[in-house]
Symmetry: C2
Subunit: 447 residues, 2 copies
Amino acid sequence: MITKEILNAMFNARNVAVVGASANPDKTGYQVLKNIIDGGFRGRIFPINPKAEELLGYVCFAELSQVPEEIDLVVVIVPAKFVPDVMRQAAEKHAKGAVIISGGFREIGNIELEQEVMQIAHDNNIAVIGPNCQGINYTPNRLCATWPLLTSRGTMAIIAQSGTIGAAMAGWAEDDEIGFTGVVALGNKSGVGEIELLDYFADDPATKVIVLNIEGVADGRLFIETAKRALTKKPVVVLKPGRTARGAEAAASHTKSIAGSDQIFDAVCRQIGLIRAGGIAEFYDFAKVLGTLPKPSGNRLMVVTSSGGSGILAADMADDLGIRIEKPDADTVEQLRTVLPNQCVLSNPLDLTGDATAQRYQDALEVIVRTDLADAYLVIFGDPIEGAAEKMAQIRALTEKPILCAFLGGGEVQKREVPLLNKAGIPVFPTPERAVRAFGALLSKRN
Amino acid sequence: MITKEILNAMFNARNVAVVGASANPDKTGYQVLKNIIDGGFRGRIFPINPKAEELLGYVCFAELSQVPEEIDLVVVIVPAKFVPDVMRQAAEKHAKGAVIISGGFREIGNIELEQEVMQIAHDNNIAVIGPNCQGINYTPNRLCATWPLLTSRGTMAIIAQSGTIGAAMAGWAEDDEIGFTGVVALGNKSGVGEIELLDYFADDPATKVIVLNIEGVADGRLFIETAKRALTKKPVVVLKPGRTARGAEAAASHTKSIAGSDQIFDAVCRQIGLIRAGGIAEFYDFAKVLGTLPKPSGNRLMVVTSSGGSGILAADMADDLGIRIEKPDADTVEQLRTVLPNQCVLSNPLDLTGDATAQRYQDALEVIVRTDLADAYLVIFGDPIEGAAEKMAQIRALTEKPILCAFLGGGEVQKREVPLLNKAGIPVFPTPERAVRAFGALLSKRN
């Protein structure tokens, strides 16, 4: 029985052995060892390889069993046929977890070999991630036992059937400087699957939003129960590709999972409050907004921008989604008139026009956030607006309501300001449409 | 009458005067002068400002009329009330074009002042861009009379009602290292508008695709005729926000243009072959794909990937758009079997699995491109794939058919490889869905 304590010991491993560590930079066994080291893991690291005495500056052992202490986490990157033996040695070393990156099991028909591995794991209470997976990353423990090297600590826990989708999510989160708590690639998910991980991250205090990429669900009833329990703690975003006939067929060849009826899955999501993303960009945007902002008390959005054209794009998307864009009342217009130059369009979108500075945004928003005109604010920076993040942090302190941003056309200034805004708790999206769509996700029914 | 010769003389100006150039880095008059200089403009540059003797290393004149030679292009950034006088001096200097960045005209009700300016332009055959616009950028002449500083030369000509939308498009093109020929921000478009510019870029040999962001069309019949003529030369992508009731209202306050029926506009686009983008991300993706790739002879797409999950996302989007994803025949499967390891899924998507290298992609694609299985190829790189661009350039040489890429989850390797792929004529998209959607645009009816 894989308990939360075992998973906890695995994620917070005090030491890690890399079985199949390699000196060849083209090999996964090199990359994973290097990423654990470069990721700043503070526990002890034991490369295992019979042909080396030392790897990347660490003493190398020929066999796992030769390591002179108990091991919390074993990362396995040797050919499939050797994995049962590695698992037996892991059991000797009282391992809590095994991340089996090696492929060559059920996915190519080697069902018995996989069963043998899982039997050893089961008999010895070892939590198995995989086999045939892309590893795990857990930033609170600086443990990057996967690739590419990503280390940015944040609040998003990523459970991914697809290693690439997990890595893409974590990579975007790192680029945005919002980070993530963990990435777990499920692979064949013969041991630990989405059920155990949903449960684990629901209770993980560092995690504010769980993102879940699955292709199929083995036990629908258990999935619903677990998801419901997780949803009482924090929002859960789901990407389940295979929506269409052709997609479902591709999913069947990928993980042999039977997708089931997409309509039923969709209905379940809506009923219990799982927030479903239609594609991978939405998956990221929804996770970002839900990990950052509280649920607004209504669907009235006030758009403030220096770019009239961007404001129209936002208004179109809001209209598509039934989000209300209401005009400011006469009193607010009067107040805005006193602080803004006369070319500004005092409506919603509020158009500060092309020569707007960060100061003009601040002047307008100081008026706006003191009114009850809207339940949330979308601030679109068009063109280079120096100091946007600094001024927005001041506005952020004036209101409890969600503030979202879009930033575009800003060249080098944009590249500097966007991470600063994200870090100030104001999520930034690359287009007005994506920002409005993310606001829509914030409105989803949830507990 | 603004002829193509006049526009040509403006874009290819041999010298430029910046009226309202400033020493204050917070002012537009500083930024524009600096960007013209830093953009590498090779003609002579004359800052005009009565309070300075020298600006950014250039001799400054108090008045435009004091410049000791004729001027091809005058960039105007002084308060609106001074613009008529500047235009009279521009006429004295036989200016071919005036880019009037200054606001304070028709957009705030100063219709007579704008008429005065335009009358002078008309009487003296000066092509006016604006007023109230974000300037122009023309990379063949290294002329960045706008902001931010963007200089990457390519094949996309951007005509934008919104300066921010224009700058965003050019910025993305620069980041992707595909570049652009020109960006023209229309502003109040009292002189040169989309009609003249469509006509100009249709004949511009450096331009392979025209992208057009408009909010309204003054003369529908003339627009259709001009667009039809342009479409005989090259594809034209259109972003016309204001699709919805709320969006149309925002457009009306932005440019006072009457949007007209969106359904009618949409029908016209379909009829004459204008390719309409639904949002700004599509606007860029469509421009990118149409500026790079030929029209495929059919809608059969072969997907090759190392990421099963990404392949499913692509298959879903293909199914949504009616794009055919057909499985390889037995003969091709047999050939693939000889070059690929046995965990690969020999279907469509062709899943090379998580440990695929650039070499494995090449091995698979060398088989695939020699068959008649598909009309185009989508190659999705999941995770860091070193050398992707180099191998793909070799594949690119083996076939005339379009090849599109998506790259995700690749960390630093991805950041290096993506621009190399783009430069090799293989457009890369950030998600599988966007790549498939772009392929859909490639299939659009056009001349």
